[in-house]
Symmetry: C2
Subunit: 267 residues, 2 copies
């Protein structure tokens, strides 16, 4: 069986460390392709060149222009392949337009020691069946974007006021997440998850697209199968920019990924 | 008057986008040169090539090997110079050994709008005169490293238990910060500040060097003159790695910089 996510991040080698990708209109959000699926595509290209270090420990993506559905070119370069980690750069472009530059440190998550002293508070979410699917949005709100048709996202009812014009003002979104077609999570899918929810600025009543300038992801463990719990928050909206922190917890209660991004406040 | 920090990050052009640096033994911490002053050196090199966009909005540094006092080579490359921001990469090496790779988004902080809706809680610190200088460390603890002789750091007494073998276990350090020679803060100095305190793992009783794999800094505003309030914290120590978040607030109470790093737990 073939999953939508694997089709989306598929790559065709066209040279040494060069790949062709096809950015699908099924992953659009507005006119652009979702940044998370683009990060996963770049992360996939890097992993292809590092079979012994397949996992993005730290993945820094700097966004230069909005990607559009259609062909894209991905290039990678190993800067240094050390003992347990490798440092790599990658770039995605379309018709000569530079879209995203990545600098990443890769390794093998399965070789890390298994101590866990996480003191972060797990995402507090009501049971899945008490949460709100975007498909339950009242008629009259915006049409469900293609991206959200690939995802099964169930929001905490306490943070969906923005859909009704009554944002909480807290600057925090919480939701359960899985792929609609049942593909289980893995480190590459986590790169999607970290940028899959609506901008956290929705919860501040600032609707509209919030272009990401930079997002750095830390993937800390291979996620267990099942639902993921996702929380995004912001605490420093200033100068037309805001930071958005994201945590992803797996079904065993492990904090498997963290990210922080810098994005532009919607106009 | 010449300041120690400016001497430390001084660069001699040796070619187009190529600079020679001299890493000083006055900035050592253990056998290595402090990562913060190295980031500031790289940040300085990038700024030299971007006179209209001198500020590091987002600065991602991936560390490959520990830098030593002595000569270093810095190269920069502008990937894309767009309307209001530019995307740039840079690398620092010593005798052919790759030390640090950087991917950064630069712009002009003075051109950002002046809205501030920060909801983060300012660092809670007792007055400077009630805080604890590292120079007040009891005899018998480790000798003050060269780095700390450049800095005037005053720790909240509530989080210096580690110096007496009684760490709080909270995973948080708070301190006032300024340069000992009085140089006022600016965006480049903030890159130093974000990695200038001891590893936050000290507060968990894990003493020893915690090598940084990756650190991404967001500089959000030009800092006002005077003391900076710095807070570092960690909440996800697992798999031999931990994240360390840092906030820097200026003397006017503005959150001027944020960072998150991924580092290795001391053995």
């Amino acid at each position: 069986m073939s999953f939508e996510f694997d089709e989306a991040i598929a790559l065709t080698p066209v040279g040494e460390h060069e790949y062709a990708a096809e950015l699908g209109d099924r992953w659009q959000i507005g006119a652009a392709v979702n940044g998370g699926v683009l990060m996963a595509t770049l992360g996939h290209a890097i992993a292809l060149g590092l079979p012994a270090k397949p996992d993005p420990f730290a993945f820094s993506a700097h966004f230069m222009s909005a990607s559009r559905p259609g062909p894209a070119q991905v290039t990678t370069r190993v800067i240094r392949d050390g003992g347990t980690v490798a440092t790599v750069e990658a770039e995605l472009s379309q018709e000569g337009q530079q879209r995203i530059a990545v600098l990443a440190t890769y390794g093998d998550l399965s070789r890390l020691p298994d101590d866990v002293r996480t003191s972060a508070s797990p995402v507090q979410l009501p049971p899945v069946e008490q949460c709100v699917s975007h498909e339950m949005a009242p008629s009259g709100t915006a049409k469900v974007p293609p991206l959200m048709q690939r995802l099964d996202v169930r929001f905490d009812p306490a943070c969906v006021g923005w859909a009704l014009g009554e944002p909480s003002g807290n600057g925090e979104l919480r939701a359960w997440f899985r792929m609609k077609d049942g593909r289980e999570p893995d480190p590459l899918q986590l790169l999607l998850v970290l940028d899959a929810l609506p901008p956290v600025t929705f919860d501040l009543g600032l609707m509209g697209w919030a272009p990401t300038l930079e997002l750095t992801a830390h993937v800390r463990a291979r996620p267990a199968p099942g639902w993921l719990a996702v929380c995004t928050s912001t605490s420093n909206l200033a100068g037309g920019l805001f930071e958005e922190d994201c945590e992803v917890w797996d079904s065993t209660g492990r904090l498997v990924a963290q990210s922080r991004q810098l994005a532009m406040v919607p106009r």
